[in-house]
Protein backbone atom coordinates (compact mmCIF):
# COMPACT_ATOMS: atom_id res chain seq x y z
CA UNK A 1 0.00 0.00 0.00
CA UNK A 2 2.80 2.40 0.98
CA UNK A 3 4.63 1.96 -2.30
CA UNK A 4 1.51 2.86 -4.25
CA UNK A 5 1.10 5.98 -2.13
CA UNK A 6 4.71 6.89 -2.99
CA UNK A 7 3.93 6.40 -6.68
CA UNK A 8 0.82 8.58 -6.42
CA UNK A 9 2.79 11.32 -4.69
CA UNK A 10 5.52 11.20 -7.33
CA UNK A 11 2.95 11.42 -10.11
CA UNK A 12 1.36 14.47 -8.47
CA UNK A 13 4.74 16.19 -8.10
CA UNK A 14 5.75 15.46 -11.68
CA UNK A 15 2.42 16.69 -13.02
CA UNK A 16 2.93 19.89 -11.08
CA UNK A 17 6.32 20.32 -12.71
CA UNK A 18 5.04 19.43 -16.15
CA UNK A 19 2.40 22.13 -15.98
CA UNK A 20 5.38 24.50 -16.38
CA UNK A 21 5.51 28.18 -15.62
CA UNK A 22 2.74 30.53 -16.60
CA UNK A 23 3.27 32.28 -19.90
CA UNK A 24 1.58 35.42 -21.11
CA UNK A 25 2.30 37.14 -24.41
CA UNK A 26 0.88 40.01 -26.42
CA UNK A 27 1.44 41.81 -29.68
CA UNK A 28 0.83 45.54 -29.45
CA UNK A 29 0.91 48.23 -32.13
CA UNK A 30 2.32 51.26 -30.41
CA UNK A 31 5.18 53.79 -30.67
CA UNK A 32 5.01 53.52 -34.47
CA UNK A 33 6.03 49.88 -34.42
CA UNK A 34 4.87 46.40 -33.48
CA UNK A 35 5.79 45.27 -29.99
CA UNK A 36 5.93 41.65 -28.85
CA UNK A 37 6.15 40.86 -25.15
CA UNK A 38 6.30 37.44 -23.49
CA UNK A 39 6.44 37.08 -19.72
CA UNK A 40 6.90 33.78 -17.86
CA UNK A 41 6.17 32.87 -14.26
CA UNK A 42 3.60 33.51 -11.58
CA UNK A 43 1.52 36.60 -12.20
CA UNK A 44 2.68 36.83 -15.83
CA UNK A 45 -0.72 37.99 -17.01
CA UNK A 46 -0.81 40.85 -14.51
CA UNK A 47 2.69 41.97 -15.43
CA UNK A 48 1.79 41.87 -19.11
CA UNK A 49 -1.27 44.01 -18.49
CA UNK A 50 0.83 46.60 -16.68
CA UNK A 51 3.49 46.50 -19.41
CA UNK A 52 0.85 47.20 -22.02
CA UNK A 53 -0.49 50.12 -19.99
CA UNK A 54 3.01 51.56 -19.62
CA UNK A 55 3.61 51.40 -23.38
CA UNK A 56 0.31 53.15 -24.09
CA UNK A 57 1.25 55.85 -21.59
CA UNK A 58 4.67 56.36 -23.13
CA UNK A 59 3.25 56.46 -26.64
CA UNK A 60 0.92 59.24 -25.57
CA UNK A 61 3.65 61.21 -23.83
CA UNK A 62 6.53 60.86 -26.29
CA UNK A 63 4.90 61.00 -29.72
CA UNK A 64 5.72 64.14 -31.70
CA UNK A 65 2.80 63.57 -34.07
CA UNK A 66 0.16 63.32 -31.33
CA UNK A 67 -0.91 66.95 -30.95
CA UNK A 68 -1.97 66.30 -27.38
CA UNK A 69 1.42 64.97 -26.25
CA UNK A 70 3.82 66.85 -24.01
CA UNK A 71 6.47 66.58 -26.71
CA UNK A 72 4.20 68.19 -29.31
CA UNK A 73 3.51 71.02 -26.84
CA UNK A 74 7.25 71.50 -26.37
CA UNK A 75 7.78 71.76 -30.14
CA UNK A 76 4.92 74.23 -30.48
CA UNK A 77 6.51 76.35 -27.78
CA UNK A 78 9.95 76.54 -29.46
CA UNK A 79 11.53 79.91 -28.86
CA UNK A 80 10.49 80.11 -25.22
CA UNK A 81 10.68 78.07 -22.03
CA UNK A 82 8.14 75.25 -21.70
CA UNK A 83 7.48 73.47 -18.41
CA UNK A 84 7.74 69.69 -18.84
CA UNK A 85 7.29 66.84 -16.41
CA UNK A 86 10.30 65.18 -14.84
CA UNK A 87 10.27 62.06 -16.99
CA UNK A 88 10.30 63.98 -20.30
CA UNK A 89 12.83 66.45 -18.93
CA UNK A 90 15.19 63.65 -17.96
CA UNK A 91 14.80 61.85 -21.29
CA UNK A 92 15.43 65.04 -23.28
CA UNK A 93 18.44 65.77 -21.09
CA UNK A 94 19.82 62.27 -21.65
CA UNK A 95 19.24 62.57 -25.40
CA UNK A 96 21.10 65.89 -25.49
CA UNK A 97 23.95 64.30 -23.55
CA UNK A 98 24.15 61.40 -26.02
CA UNK A 99 24.20 63.94 -28.86
CA UNK A 100 27.17 65.65 -27.23
CA UNK A 101 28.91 62.33 -26.50
CA UNK A 102 28.56 61.17 -30.11
CA UNK A 103 29.64 64.43 -31.68
CA UNK A 104 26.16 65.03 -33.06
CA UNK A 105 25.92 61.71 -34.90
CA UNK A 106 22.75 61.10 -32.91
CA UNK A 107 20.57 64.15 -32.45
CA UNK A 108 16.87 64.43 -31.58
CA UNK A 109 16.69 67.88 -33.19
CA UNK A 110 17.01 66.29 -36.64
CA UNK A 111 13.19 66.13 -36.78
CA UNK A 112 12.63 68.87 -39.44
CA UNK A 113 15.12 67.15 -41.74
CA UNK A 114 13.36 63.80 -41.34
CA UNK A 115 10.09 65.54 -42.17
CA UNK A 116 11.63 66.90 -45.36
CA UNK A 117 12.70 63.42 -46.46
CA UNK A 118 9.28 62.00 -45.41
CA UNK A 119 10.70 58.48 -45.11
CA UNK A 120 7.69 57.17 -43.23
CA UNK A 121 5.08 58.87 -45.39
CA UNK A 122 3.41 57.79 -48.58
CA UNK A 123 5.54 60.09 -50.73
CA UNK A 124 9.19 60.14 -49.63
CA UNK A 125 11.32 62.62 -51.58
CA UNK A 126 14.89 63.85 -51.96
CA UNK A 127 15.15 67.41 -50.60
CA UNK A 128 17.40 69.86 -52.40
CA UNK A 129 20.84 70.54 -50.95
CA UNK A 130 19.82 74.14 -50.25
CA UNK A 131 16.77 72.94 -48.34
CA UNK A 132 18.84 70.50 -46.29
CA UNK A 133 21.43 73.15 -45.45
CA UNK A 134 18.70 75.53 -44.32
CA UNK A 135 17.13 72.84 -42.12
CA UNK A 136 20.49 71.67 -40.76
CA UNK A 137 21.01 75.17 -39.40
CA UNK A 138 18.28 74.42 -36.84
CA UNK A 139 19.86 71.13 -35.73
CA UNK A 140 21.99 71.01 -32.60
CA UNK A 141 20.89 69.67 -29.23
CA UNK A 142 23.65 71.64 -27.54
CA UNK A 143 21.48 74.73 -28.02
CA UNK A 144 18.57 73.30 -26.01
CA UNK A 145 18.38 75.06 -22.66
CA UNK A 146 17.52 72.99 -19.59
CA UNK A 147 16.59 75.05 -16.58
CA UNK A 148 14.99 73.37 -13.59
CA UNK A 149 11.68 72.04 -14.87
CA UNK A 150 11.63 73.99 -18.12
CA UNK A 151 13.11 73.24 -21.52
CA UNK A 152 13.72 75.89 -24.18
CA UNK A 153 14.10 74.92 -27.82
CA UNK A 154 15.58 77.60 -30.07
CA UNK A 155 13.23 79.16 -32.60
CA UNK A 156 12.82 76.86 -35.61
CA UNK A 157 13.96 73.71 -33.78
CA UNK A 158 11.77 70.65 -33.30
CA UNK A 159 12.72 67.46 -31.49
CA UNK A 160 11.68 63.89 -32.16
CA UNK A 161 12.36 61.08 -29.70
CA UNK A 162 11.89 58.33 -32.27
CA UNK A 163 15.58 57.47 -32.07
CA UNK A 164 15.53 56.85 -28.34
CA UNK A 165 11.91 56.35 -27.21
CA UNK A 166 11.75 52.63 -27.94
CA UNK A 167 14.96 52.07 -26.05
CA UNK A 168 13.62 54.09 -23.16
CA UNK A 169 10.39 52.08 -23.25
CA UNK A 170 12.40 48.88 -22.95
CA UNK A 171 14.17 50.41 -19.93
CA UNK A 172 10.77 51.01 -18.36
CA UNK A 173 9.68 47.43 -19.04
CA UNK A 174 12.94 46.12 -17.57
CA UNK A 175 12.28 48.13 -14.41
CA UNK A 176 8.73 46.80 -14.25
CA UNK A 177 9.93 43.20 -14.58
CA UNK A 178 12.52 43.72 -11.85
CA UNK A 179 10.03 45.40 -9.52
CA UNK A 180 7.55 42.54 -9.97
CA UNK A 181 10.08 39.80 -9.46
CA UNK A 182 9.88 38.45 -13.00
CA UNK A 183 12.72 36.04 -13.75
CA UNK A 184 12.04 35.31 -17.42
CA UNK A 185 10.73 37.62 -20.13
CA UNK A 186 11.55 38.83 -23.63
CA UNK A 187 10.53 41.98 -25.45
CA UNK A 188 10.87 43.13 -29.06
CA UNK A 189 9.98 46.71 -29.87
CA UNK A 190 10.09 46.55 -33.63
CA UNK A 191 13.35 44.62 -33.46
CA UNK A 192 14.80 46.48 -30.44
CA UNK A 193 15.34 43.62 -28.03
CA UNK A 194 15.36 43.26 -24.27
CA UNK A 195 15.82 39.86 -22.65
CA UNK A 196 15.14 39.62 -18.93
CA UNK A 197 16.67 36.95 -16.71
CA UNK A 198 17.01 33.57 -18.37
CA UNK A 199 14.71 31.19 -20.14
CA UNK A 200 12.56 29.11 -17.84
CA UNK A 201 14.99 26.21 -18.09
CA UNK A 202 17.77 28.46 -16.80
CA UNK A 203 19.59 28.80 -20.10
CA UNK A 204 20.52 32.10 -21.71
CA UNK A 205 18.36 33.78 -24.33
CA UNK A 206 19.63 33.19 -27.85
CA UNK A 207 19.28 36.41 -29.83
CA UNK A 208 19.61 36.20 -33.61
CA UNK A 209 21.33 39.16 -35.27
CA UNK A 210 19.71 39.81 -38.62
CA UNK A 211 21.90 39.79 -41.72
CA UNK A 212 21.60 43.20 -43.44
CA UNK A 213 22.52 41.60 -46.77
CA UNK A 214 19.81 38.97 -46.41
CA UNK A 215 17.27 39.80 -43.69
CA UNK A 216 15.90 36.26 -43.82
CA UNK A 217 19.15 35.03 -42.32
CA UNK A 218 21.53 35.89 -39.49
CA UNK A 219 25.03 37.22 -39.01
CA UNK A 220 25.04 34.99 -35.96
CA UNK A 221 23.43 34.59 -32.57
CA UNK A 222 24.47 35.99 -29.23
CA UNK A 223 23.51 34.46 -25.88
CA UNK A 224 22.39 37.04 -23.35
CA UNK A 225 20.58 37.75 -20.12
CA UNK A 226 19.39 41.12 -18.79
CA UNK A 227 20.63 42.90 -21.88
CA UNK A 228 19.29 45.26 -24.52
CA UNK A 229 20.19 44.67 -28.17
CA UNK A 230 19.42 47.36 -30.73
CA UNK A 231 20.31 47.53 -34.42
CA UNK A 232 20.37 50.49 -36.79
CA UNK A 233 20.51 49.74 -40.47
CA UNK A 234 19.14 51.22 -43.60
CA UNK A 235 18.20 47.93 -45.14
CA UNK A 236 14.57 47.74 -44.12
CA UNK A 237 13.24 51.26 -44.61
CA UNK A 238 14.37 53.06 -47.73
CA UNK A 239 13.19 54.32 -51.08
CA UNK A 240 14.71 54.55 -54.52
CA UNK A 241 14.73 57.49 -56.88
CA UNK A 242 16.52 57.79 -60.23
CA UNK A 243 18.36 54.58 -59.51
CA UNK A 244 19.71 55.75 -56.15
CA UNK A 245 18.73 54.10 -52.86
CA UNK A 246 18.03 56.44 -49.95
CA UNK A 247 18.16 54.82 -46.50
CA UNK A 248 16.15 56.32 -43.65
CA UNK A 249 19.13 57.18 -41.43
CA UNK A 250 20.51 60.68 -41.99
CA UNK A 251 23.60 62.41 -40.73
CA UNK A 252 22.19 65.18 -38.50
CA UNK A 253 25.12 67.45 -39.31
CA UNK A 254 24.48 67.50 -43.06
CA UNK A 255 20.92 66.32 -43.46
CA UNK A 256 22.06 63.82 -46.09
CA UNK A 257 21.54 60.07 -45.93
CA UNK A 258 24.33 58.49 -43.91
CA UNK A 259 26.64 56.54 -46.21
CA UNK A 260 29.37 55.46 -43.86
CA UNK A 261 30.18 52.08 -45.35
CA UNK A 262 28.28 50.25 -42.59
CA UNK A 263 25.22 48.19 -43.40
CA UNK A 264 24.17 47.73 -39.80
CA UNK A 265 25.31 48.65 -36.29
CA UNK A 266 24.11 46.62 -33.32
CA UNK A 267 24.66 47.74 -29.73
CA UNK A 268 24.36 45.33 -26.78
CA UNK A 269 24.33 46.97 -23.38
CA UNK A 270 22.57 47.43 -20.05
CA UNK A 271 20.66 50.61 -20.92
CA UNK A 272 17.99 50.62 -23.63
CA UNK A 273 17.89 54.36 -24.27
CA UNK A 274 21.67 54.55 -24.56
CA UNK A 275 21.77 51.54 -26.87
CA UNK A 276 19.06 53.01 -29.08
CA UNK A 277 20.90 56.32 -29.41
CA UNK A 278 24.31 54.73 -29.91
CA UNK A 279 23.21 52.27 -32.59
CA UNK A 280 22.14 55.21 -34.75
CA UNK A 281 25.27 57.18 -33.90
CA UNK A 282 27.64 54.30 -34.70
CA UNK A 283 25.93 53.72 -38.04
CA UNK A 284 26.40 57.40 -38.91
CA UNK A 285 30.01 57.48 -37.65
CA UNK A 286 31.25 54.59 -39.76
CA UNK A 287 33.72 51.91 -38.75
CA UNK A 288 36.82 53.82 -37.66
CA UNK A 289 35.04 56.50 -35.64
CA UNK A 290 32.73 53.89 -34.11
CA UNK A 291 35.68 51.80 -32.94
CA UNK A 292 37.42 54.87 -31.49
CA UNK A 293 34.20 55.81 -29.73
CA UNK A 294 33.80 52.31 -28.26
CA UNK A 295 37.40 52.30 -27.05
CA UNK A 296 37.14 55.63 -25.23
CA UNK A 297 33.54 55.84 -23.99
CA UNK A 298 33.48 55.44 -20.21
CA UNK A 299 30.36 53.24 -20.12
CA UNK A 300 30.84 49.62 -21.23
CA UNK A 301 28.87 48.33 -24.19
CA UNK A 302 29.36 45.80 -26.95
CA UNK A 303 28.73 46.25 -30.65
CA UNK A 304 28.48 44.30 -33.89
CA UNK A 305 29.23 46.27 -37.05
CA UNK A 306 28.64 44.83 -40.52
CA UNK A 307 30.31 46.70 -43.36
CA UNK A 308 29.61 46.63 -47.08
CA UNK A 309 32.73 44.60 -47.79
CA UNK A 310 31.89 41.31 -46.09
CA UNK A 311 33.38 42.05 -42.67
CA UNK A 312 31.65 41.73 -39.31
CA UNK A 313 33.38 43.51 -36.42
CA UNK A 314 32.58 42.40 -32.87
CA UNK A 315 33.81 43.75 -29.56
CA UNK A 316 35.78 41.47 -27.29
CA UNK A 317 32.96 41.07 -24.77
CA UNK A 318 31.08 38.98 -27.32
CA UNK A 319 33.90 36.54 -27.97
CA UNK A 320 32.49 33.82 -25.72
CA UNK A 321 28.80 34.31 -26.40
CA UNK A 322 28.62 34.87 -30.16
CA UNK A 323 27.83 31.96 -32.47
CA UNK A 324 28.55 32.57 -36.15
CA UNK A 325 27.76 29.01 -37.15
CA UNK A 326 24.16 29.82 -38.03
CA UNK A 327 25.16 32.44 -40.63
CA UNK A 328 24.03 31.40 -44.07
CA UNK A 329 26.58 33.59 -45.87
CA UNK A 330 30.34 33.80 -45.50
CA UNK A 331 31.72 36.75 -43.58
CA UNK A 332 35.07 37.56 -42.07
CA UNK A 333 34.53 37.97 -38.33
CA UNK A 334 36.97 40.32 -36.63
CA UNK A 335 37.10 40.79 -32.87
CA UNK A 336 38.04 44.24 -31.59
CA UNK A 337 40.05 44.85 -28.45
CA UNK A 338 40.35 47.98 -26.37
CA UNK A 339 44.03 48.44 -27.22
Amino acid sequence: MKRWLVLLLAVCLLCGCAAGPQEASAQIFSMDTVIDITVYGDGAQDVLRDARAELVRLDGALSRHDSGSALAALNRGAGGPVAVEEELYDLLYAAAAYAADTGGCFDISVAPIMDAWNFTGDTPRVPSQAELEALAAHVGSERIVFDGGTVTLPEGMAVDLGGIAKGYASDRLAALFAQRGVTSAKVSLGGNIYVHGTKTDGSLWRVGVEDPNDPGNFLGAVELRDRFAITSGGYQRYFEQDGVTYYHIVDPKTGNVARSGLLSATVICGNGAMGDAFSTALFVMGLDAAVDFWRTYPVEFDMILADDDGHVYLTEGLRDCFDASIAEHEYEYIFLSKE
Binding site: C17, F29, S188, G191, W205, V207, Q236, I326
Partner: protein
Protein backbone atom coordinates in the same frame (compact mmCIF):
# COMPACT_ATOMS: atom_id res chain seq x y z
CA UNK B 1 21.73 -2.40 26.48
CA UNK B 2 20.89 -5.80 25.08
CA UNK B 3 17.20 -5.29 25.84
CA UNK B 4 17.20 -1.92 24.13
CA UNK B 5 19.01 -3.34 21.11
CA UNK B 6 16.48 -6.09 20.84
CA UNK B 7 13.56 -3.58 20.92
CA UNK B 8 15.23 -1.44 18.22
CA UNK B 9 15.61 -4.39 15.88
CA UNK B 10 11.93 -5.14 16.24
CA UNK B 11 10.96 -1.50 15.37
CA UNK B 12 13.08 -1.11 12.20
CA UNK B 13 11.16 -2.01 9.01
CA UNK B 14 12.58 -4.42 6.53
CA UNK B 15 14.80 -2.40 4.10
CA UNK B 16 15.47 -4.97 1.44
CA UNK B 17 13.69 -3.85 -1.78
CA UNK B 18 10.92 -6.04 -3.04
CA UNK B 19 10.24 -6.64 -6.77
CA UNK B 20 7.21 -4.33 -6.64
CA UNK B 21 9.44 -1.48 -5.39
CA UNK B 22 11.44 -1.76 -8.58
CA UNK B 23 8.22 -1.49 -10.56
CA UNK B 24 7.34 1.72 -8.72
CA UNK B 25 10.80 3.22 -9.29
CA UNK B 26 10.67 2.28 -12.97
CA UNK B 27 7.20 3.79 -13.33
CA UNK B 28 8.33 7.07 -11.76
CA UNK B 29 11.40 7.23 -14.01
CA UNK B 30 9.39 6.54 -17.18
CA UNK B 31 6.81 9.13 -16.17
CA UNK B 32 9.51 11.71 -15.39
CA UNK B 33 11.17 11.16 -18.77
CA UNK B 34 7.87 11.45 -20.60
CA UNK B 35 6.89 14.64 -18.81
CA UNK B 36 10.34 16.15 -19.35
CA UNK B 37 10.02 15.50 -23.06
CA UNK B 38 6.57 17.05 -23.02
CA UNK B 39 7.94 20.16 -21.32
CA UNK B 40 10.76 20.74 -23.81
CA UNK B 41 8.72 22.54 -26.49
CA UNK B 42 7.75 25.29 -24.03
CA UNK B 43 10.36 27.72 -25.33
CA UNK B 44 11.85 25.96 -28.28
CA UNK B 45 8.66 25.31 -30.21
CA UNK B 46 7.70 22.42 -32.45
CA UNK B 47 7.87 22.30 -36.23
CA UNK B 48 8.23 25.62 -38.05
CA UNK B 49 4.85 27.34 -38.36
CA UNK B 50 3.71 30.61 -39.87
CA UNK B 51 1.10 32.77 -38.17
CA UNK B 52 -0.61 35.57 -40.08
CA UNK B 53 -2.40 38.25 -38.08
CA UNK B 54 -3.96 41.63 -38.57
CA UNK B 55 -4.41 44.11 -35.75
CA UNK B 56 -3.51 41.38 -33.26
CA UNK B 57 -6.17 38.97 -34.55
CA UNK B 58 -4.84 35.70 -35.93
CA UNK B 59 -6.08 35.16 -39.49
CA UNK B 60 -4.26 31.95 -40.24
CA UNK B 61 -1.64 29.52 -38.97
CA UNK B 62 -0.03 26.97 -41.23
CA UNK B 63 3.01 24.67 -41.16
CA UNK B 64 6.02 25.77 -43.20
CA UNK B 65 7.57 22.94 -45.13
CA UNK B 66 10.08 22.67 -47.92
CA UNK B 67 8.83 21.44 -51.28
CA UNK B 68 5.40 22.82 -50.56
CA UNK B 69 5.33 26.20 -52.32
CA UNK B 70 2.22 28.28 -52.68
CA UNK B 71 0.47 31.57 -52.13
CA UNK B 72 -2.12 32.58 -49.56
CA UNK B 73 -4.20 35.71 -50.02
CA UNK B 74 -5.49 37.81 -47.13
CA UNK B 75 -7.41 40.71 -48.63
CA UNK B 76 -4.86 42.88 -50.44
CA UNK B 77 -1.91 40.97 -48.96
CA UNK B 78 -0.32 37.91 -50.50
CA UNK B 79 1.94 35.66 -48.46
CA UNK B 80 4.13 33.33 -50.51
CA UNK B 81 6.01 30.21 -49.51
CA UNK B 82 8.91 29.31 -51.79
CA UNK B 83 10.17 25.88 -52.70
CA UNK B 84 12.84 26.08 -50.00
CA UNK B 85 10.32 27.05 -47.30
CA UNK B 86 11.13 30.77 -47.31
CA UNK B 87 8.11 32.93 -46.47
CA UNK B 88 7.61 36.42 -47.88
CA UNK B 89 4.95 39.06 -48.41
CA UNK B 90 4.75 39.49 -52.17
CA UNK B 91 1.85 41.92 -52.40
CA UNK B 92 0.63 44.62 -50.03
CA UNK B 93 -1.58 47.70 -50.34
CA UNK B 94 0.69 50.06 -48.36
CA UNK B 95 2.56 52.87 -50.11
CA UNK B 96 5.94 52.23 -48.48
CA UNK B 97 6.07 48.52 -49.33
CA UNK B 98 8.48 47.95 -46.42
CA UNK B 99 6.92 44.54 -45.79
CA UNK B 100 7.51 43.46 -49.39
CA UNK B 101 11.08 44.78 -49.31
CA UNK B 102 11.78 42.84 -46.12
CA UNK B 103 12.20 39.83 -48.36
CA UNK B 104 11.94 36.25 -47.20
CA UNK B 105 12.11 34.94 -43.65
CA UNK B 106 13.14 31.38 -42.90
CA UNK B 107 13.88 31.09 -39.20
CA UNK B 108 11.78 30.84 -36.06
CA UNK B 109 11.50 34.21 -34.34
CA UNK B 110 11.55 36.20 -37.58
CA UNK B 111 8.63 38.25 -38.78
CA UNK B 112 7.48 40.56 -41.53
CA UNK B 113 5.48 43.59 -40.45
CA UNK B 114 3.33 46.01 -42.41
CA UNK B 115 2.87 48.83 -39.93
CA UNK B 116 0.26 50.84 -41.83
CA UNK B 117 -1.95 47.77 -42.21
CA UNK B 118 -1.00 46.24 -38.85
CA UNK B 119 -0.40 43.04 -40.78
CA UNK B 120 2.14 40.60 -39.32
CA UNK B 121 3.61 37.36 -40.66
CA UNK B 122 5.73 35.54 -38.11
CA UNK B 123 7.53 32.24 -37.87
CA UNK B 124 7.62 30.16 -34.72
CA UNK B 125 8.72 26.71 -33.67
CA UNK B 126 11.99 25.19 -34.81
CA UNK B 127 13.59 25.88 -38.15
CA UNK B 128 15.03 23.05 -40.15
CA UNK B 129 18.68 23.77 -39.39
CA UNK B 130 18.09 24.30 -35.69
CA UNK B 131 19.39 27.85 -35.19
CA UNK B 132 17.51 27.81 -31.89
CA UNK B 133 16.99 31.56 -31.91
CA UNK B 134 14.53 32.87 -29.30
CA UNK B 135 14.24 36.42 -30.58
CA UNK B 136 15.69 38.51 -33.40
CA UNK B 137 17.39 41.92 -33.24
CA UNK B 138 17.05 43.93 -36.42
Amino acid sequence: MNTFSSQKNNAVPRLRPAPLDAVVVLAVLVLAAALFAAMLPKQSGGALACTVSRDGQVLDTFPVEENSPGERVYGAYTVSVAQDGAVSVTAAPCAGQDCVRTGAVRRAGQNIVCLPGRFVVELSGTDGDGSGVDIVVR
